[in-house]
């Protein structure tokens, strides 16, 4: 407190010196004590009246008063006379009302402490127990504490302040409007203009008082907070629990609750906006203000004083001399004549009454010297030069001046002191809206012995952080207001304190804060719009039914005001916040795309649905932000991040990843289930993704914004994470688009072809192990006999490895083919949708035979419409330049041509089958023995179907004998590959006739029938000879059903052309070169491939 006292004492002297000079030359015989008493009276009266005081003066008076009181009670006698003039209770009241007084930005004083501190130096004062028993801020009893708390905390006054702000801003604006109207209407009549100007003057005064009250509140709240540090900082962060806290943290960082910060920011916003509003119309109102002040002064000097001279002071020579001095010093006698017409001028010179009525004010204000002189003369007038006079300045009637005259003098006296503020309009607003003190913390820096506190302790940054953390819709727009605080403190540091190092500190902090703010702001905006997008894309009927569906709705926020901030003034720099946000937003989108792609690259192929979901959300986000900001186009950003900007590149990150996954993981580790049309990961397949780095868990805004939505979407994506099916194929098609898809298809086909080539030697090896000729299985031995024969034929024990490899190759080929068929289904569906959308525009109508017919042979409705419009526009005289319409019509023609040519896109599956067929043709000789005789050789073992048949049999047998080993590894795709190859080699019918399993089934059937005929009584029981074979028989039936399904699909999608073969006539004669066609059984009604 020592520093504080010393400082204030210095300040006291500086502040009081003009006052002392005032009173000093009244009468030199007055002692110092008299002067001190007068000063105390002045202080007390001004504080009690609280009329013409702005907060800096009020605070100064409050700081000065305790010191004055101590000085004035230098002796018993003096103190008695002091308390005679100023009752002790008045002093106590003042001290109690303001237990803490702001002195310096980070330093407060308290009257109680000052009194106590000084009492040790002034012995006489130590007897003043009533004054000394005032409680210091930290000694205030709890009950009173509540009251002070209520008074000091802005939070408790917010309602009033808000109402005052709204009311004042409306009235100020309307007064301004009237001023503008007045300015635009020349030669307006005098009374009206005087009314408006007077109104303006009143409003300005009100504004000053409002600003002063508000800013004073902030100062006082600060002082209060400084005087009552937070007892126990919250130990939420583990890192902080061990470290000690700075004092500054206790008084600032932990001392403001979120609500208090909110209120503080709101109030700062009000102060700054009102201040700016008043500052802006500076040049507009100054004339009116000068004029009004001029009127006030002249009215008093010329009129009121005149009356007083003629009545009250007629007899008092010395006092009337003061009055006439006042008139001489400040009267502007010519003002009334300067602008009046010459005629009126001559008229009004005649009588004084007439002159008063046409008084024409001059827009010139009195000088500061004039004002001070008037104040001094009024003082002298009422005190009569006697400082020892009891009572207050205007409170006594001993001078013989009537009460109403005193009242007038008093009012004018205080008005005069306010004139100075009004005349210094800009500077006054500057002082009143200067909130830079909120930043300064030099006292605490010194006492904590550190160079600087962390940014979290800085009050302006705390306010910004409060906004970004709470994301309060009402506060977001004022998020840049705290930078005004930095501006203020920088200004203060440079112009008032003249300390470069302080400015450097502030600048460093502002740079940091601004960067942080922009980043946070971006994040908030991005997260908000992303959450909105995610919430929109969520199935609304589902969220409606959901019990806690509300958490998926995003409460609306508005960023329009922030997006409009093109010029933010920070420390004299103009910053285009909007462009910064745009810049970072572009970057954020790219980062997000990159993040999603990386995530996809770290997972397996099943993640494609999630990728598509997240990219869809991102696209919608982009759409909604693009309404406000000029962002780069989404497709460009996507292709940039996918690295396929180049016109000649037909692959992308996604496509290469998909292909990579298919090659290394999907084809080898996924097994097909034909019934569900899904691929699932085989249990034995190594899970690649588990080994990949899954550490890249990004921030929430890279997913879906809010936590709830992210969880919801992860729940949805979780459904698709363990298989690959139609939804995945849709996602693949959507993500790859027409540009990268052909690449994948081609790669897959090449893969099939290379697999076939790789399979050739293995197949040959298996063929070699088979006997040269294989006949039909005999029915004699029953199924047990059949099994024995088959076992004798299949002597592959030594080549089980080759067998397994072939099976795996077949599985991969089959998977690839099935993948193609899935792709085909999806592409068909997309094509159909597109067709349905474009058909009405292209004039396509259904014909009689189910074919598509063109309704208009030459044009389409689309082109007709646009050309008609173009003709209409071109013929209208109102449009001088129809060229753009002509272009549009031309473009319509081009578009309809393009759409027409797109209608009959081929089938991917058919192409794939044709390609496979071509690949097989190269190995035709090895896999299909051409009969030398020209007859179909039914006993040959060289044909592929024999190998496949054997593979199938042994595979089925193994799957029964060792369950849960083989089957899971292969799935249904082996059948797909085998059947396709056989079908394309033209061996389907051979297979269906001679396949071991099929024959096995036939034998079992015959045996079953025979047994049931001979043993009708046992029919209900399971025939015991079949015991042990149910499993394999069931598996064979299943395989047959599957094979039939594949064959019928193949017949439908890839009908075999007519083939030449030999046949034997019923007569026994061979018939060479006969054509046979493949009969289409189940799919007869399906459309045939166009030939």
């Amino acid at each position: 407190m020592n520093i504080g006292s010393a400082c204030t004492t210095l300040e006291n002297l500086l502040f009081l010196s003009p006052m002392v000079v005032f009173f000093d030359f009244l009468d030199l015989k007055n002692s110092v004590e008299d002067i001190l008493q007068v000063l105390i009276v002045f202080c007390v009266e001004s504080l009690e009246l609280d009329f013409a005081l702005l907060f800096p003066e009020r605070h100064t008076l409050l700081r000065v008063l305790p010191v004055l009181v101590v000085l004035a009670t230098s002796s018993e006698k003096e103190s008695e006379s002091l308390y005679k003039r100023v009752k002790m209770n008045r002093l106590l009241n003042i001290f109690k009302n303001d237990p803490v007084i702001p002195a310096f930005p980070d330093l407060h004083l308290s009257p109680a402490a000052i009194l106590k501190e000084l009492s040790s130096y002034f012995q006489n004062f130590s007897s003043q127990t009533r004054l000394l028993s005032l409680p210091s801020p930290h000694e205030i009893p709890p009950r009173e504490l509540q009251e002070y708390q209520r008074h000091y905390l802005i939070l408790n006054h917010m309602g009033t302040i808000r109402a005052e702000h709204d009311d004042f801003s409306i009235r100020f604006a309307s007064a301004m409007n009237q001023m503008i109207i007045l300015k635009s209407s020349d030669g307006a009549d005098n009374d009206w203009s005087r009314d408006i100007k007077g109104n303006m003057y009143d409003i300005v005064i009100e504004g000053f008082q409002l600003l002063s009250r508000w800013t004073g509140r902030i100062w006082e709240q600060c002082a209060w907070k400084f005087s009552r540090p937070c007892k126990e900082p919250p130990i939420s962060d583990s890192q902080h629990s061990s470290t000690t806290f700075f004092d500054y943290e206790k008084v600032v960082r932990w001392n403001y609750t979120a609500e208090e910060r909110r209120a503080l920011l709101e109030l700062i916003g009000y102060i700054k906006s009102i201040g700016l509003m008043m500052q802006r119309c500076d040049t507009l109102v100054s004339e009116a203000l000068w004029e009004t002040i001029h009127i006030e002064v002249q009215d008093f000097v010329q009129d009121k004083l005149d009356t007083m001279l003629r009545t009250t002071f007629r007899k008092k020579k010395d006092l009337s001399r003061i009055l006439s001095d006042m008139r001489t010093l400040s009267a502007d006698w010519m003002a009334n004549t300067s602008k009046a017409d010459p005629e009126q001028h001559s008229l009004h010179q005649e009588t004084e009454e007439m002159r008063q009525s046409t008084f024409y004010p001059r827009p010139v204000a009195p000088t500061a010297a004039q004002i001070h002189c008037l104040q001094f003369l009024i003082c002298e007038l009422v005190s009569g030069g006697n400082l020892r006079k009891p009572g207050g300045l205007f409170g006594n009637s001993s001078s013989g001046i009537p009460v109403e005259d005193l009242k007038q003098l008093e009012t004018f006296f205080y008005k005069l002191s306010f004139f100075l503020h009004i005349l210094d309009y800009t500077a006054t607003i500057g002082t009143l809206t200067d909130l830079g003190f909120l930043w300064f913390r030099e006292f605490y820096l010194e006492s904590s012995r550190v160079i600087q506190f962390p940014i979290e302790c800085s009050l302006p940054w705390m306010l910004i952080e409060n906004v970004t953390e709470t994301q309060d819709a009402g506060l977001l727009e004022s998020v840049t207001i705290p930078f005004d605080l930095y501006n203020d403190s920088a200004q203060h540091a440079l112009t008032y304190l003249k300390q470069r190092f302080l400015y450097d500190e502030i600048e460093a902090e502002v740079d940091l804060c601004f960067d942080l703010l922009v980043e946070k702001l971006n994040e908030i905006i991005f997260t908000y719009y992303k959450s909105c997008a995610a919430s929109t894309l969520l199935d609304s009927s589902f969220t409606y039914v959901c019990d806690d569906g509300e958490k998926y709705f995003i409460k609306p926020l508005r960023f329009d005001a922030i997006f409009k901030l093109r010029r933010v003034m920070v420390l004299g720099r103009t910053i285009d916040l909007r462009s910064l946000i745009t810049q970072r937003m572009n970057k954020l989108f790219r980062e997000n795309i990159d993040f999603l792609l990386e995530r996809f690259e770290n997972g397996d192929l099943c993640g494609v649905v999630e990728l598509r979901q997240l990219l869809d959300i991102l696209e919608l986000t982009h759409q909604s932000i693009s309404k406000f900001l000029e962002l780069d186009s989404y497709s460009l950003m996507l292709s940039e991040m996918q690295e396929n900007l180049s016109l000649v590149s037909y692959s992308s990150r996604i496509s290469s990843q998909i292909w990579n996954e298919m090659q290394t993981d999907f084809l080898s580790n996924f097994i097909l289930c034909n019934t569900t049309q899904r691929f699932v990961r085989s249990l034995k397949g190594i899970h690649h993704s588990s080994q990949r780095s899954s550490a890249s868990t990004g921030k929430a805004h890279f997913y879906c914004g809010s936590y709830d939505l992210t969880m919801a979407y992860q729940g949805i994506a979780g459904l698709y994470r363990d298989f690959f099916g139609i939804p995945h194929m849709f996602a693949v098609v959507k993500l790859l688009g027409s540009r990268a898809l052909p690449g994948i298809i081609r790669a897959l086909l090449d893969h099939i072809s290379s697999k076939i080539t790789a399979m050739v030697p293995k197949i040959t090896a298996l063929q070699e192990a088979l006997p040269k000729s294989i006949g039909l299985l005999s029915f004699d031995g029953g199924i047990a006999g059949c099994q024995k024969i088959i076992h004798e034929i299949l002597t592959w024990e030594a080549k089980s490895e080759v067998k397994n490899e072939v099976l795996h190759d077949l599985k991969e080929i089959g998977s690839a083919l099935y993948w193609m068929s899935l792709l085909d289904i999806v592409l068909r569906q997309i094509d159909t949708t597109q067709f349905m959308q474009s058909a009405p525009w292209l004039g396509l109508v259904p014909g009689n035979d189910g074919q598509v017919k063109h309704a208009y042979p030459d044009s389409t409705p689309f082109t007709t419409l646009l050309s008609a419009a173009t003709n209409a526009v071109a013929s209208s005289p109102a449009c001088p330049n129809p060229s753009s319409f002509l272009v549009m019509a031309k473009q319509a023609e081009a578009a309809s041509l393009l759409y027409k040519s797109n209608l009959n896109s081929g089938s991917v599956l058919e192409y794939a089958l044709a390609f496979t067929s071509a690949a097989l043709d190269r190995h035709y000789n090895k896999w299909s023995a051409t009969p030398k005789t020209g007859f179909i050789d039914i006993t040959t073992s060289k044909d592929f179907y024999r190998v496949f048949s054997g593979l199938q049999y042994s595979y089925l047998e193994e799957s029964i004998n060792y369950p849960s080993t083989k089957q899971e590894m292969l799935g249904d795709s082996v059948a797909w590959a085998g059947c396709t190859i056989m079908y394309l080699l033209g061996q389907q019918q051979h297979f269906e006739l001679f396949d071991f399993s099929y024959q096995f089934l036939n034998v079992a059937e015959v045996e079953n029938a025979t047994v049931s005929i001979y043993q009708p009584s046992d029919r209900n029981k399971s025939p015991n000879f079949l015991q042990g074979y149910e499993g394999i028989l069931e598996a064979m039936r299943k395989a047959r059903r599957l094979n039939n399904h594949v064959f019928s699909m193949l017949r439908a999608r890839c009908p075999l052309e007519d083939k030449i073969a030999c046949a034997i006539k019923p007569s026994g004669a061979p018939l060479h070169r006969m054509k046979f066609t493949n009969t289409v059984s189940a799919f007869e009604t399906l459309p045939q491939r166009a030939t």
């Binding site: 009267a331 093109r566 462009s579 000029e630 460009l636 900007l645 000649v648």
Partner: protein
């Protein structure tokens, strides 16, 4: 204390009023001029900023297009 000749002071004060009217008139108008300039600067700056924004967009688009075109021209064989 006195004031010298009150009449002389009165005349001086009167002259002062008139001079100051002239001065304040001029200073006010100079301030208005500056006010206008400041406001003009503000509006111009924000308009320039929006123009700049549009140019930025165009520039970036152009850059992308240039990359695309260059990718095409370096591989002329693809297009023949």
């Amino acid at each position: 204390m006195g004031m010298g000749n009150p009449v002389n002071v009165g005349i001086a004060v009167q002259a002062d009023w008139e001079n100051r009217e002239f001065i304040s008139n001029i200073s006010l108008n100079v301030r208005r001029l500056f006010d206008f300039l400041l406001r003009f600067e503000a509006t111009t700056k924000s308009k320039l900023a929006s123009l700049n924004e549009k140019l930025d967009i165009l520039e970036r688009k152009l850059e992308v297009l240039e990359v695309q075109v260059s990718s095409a021209t370096t591989n002329p064989s693809v297009f023949t």
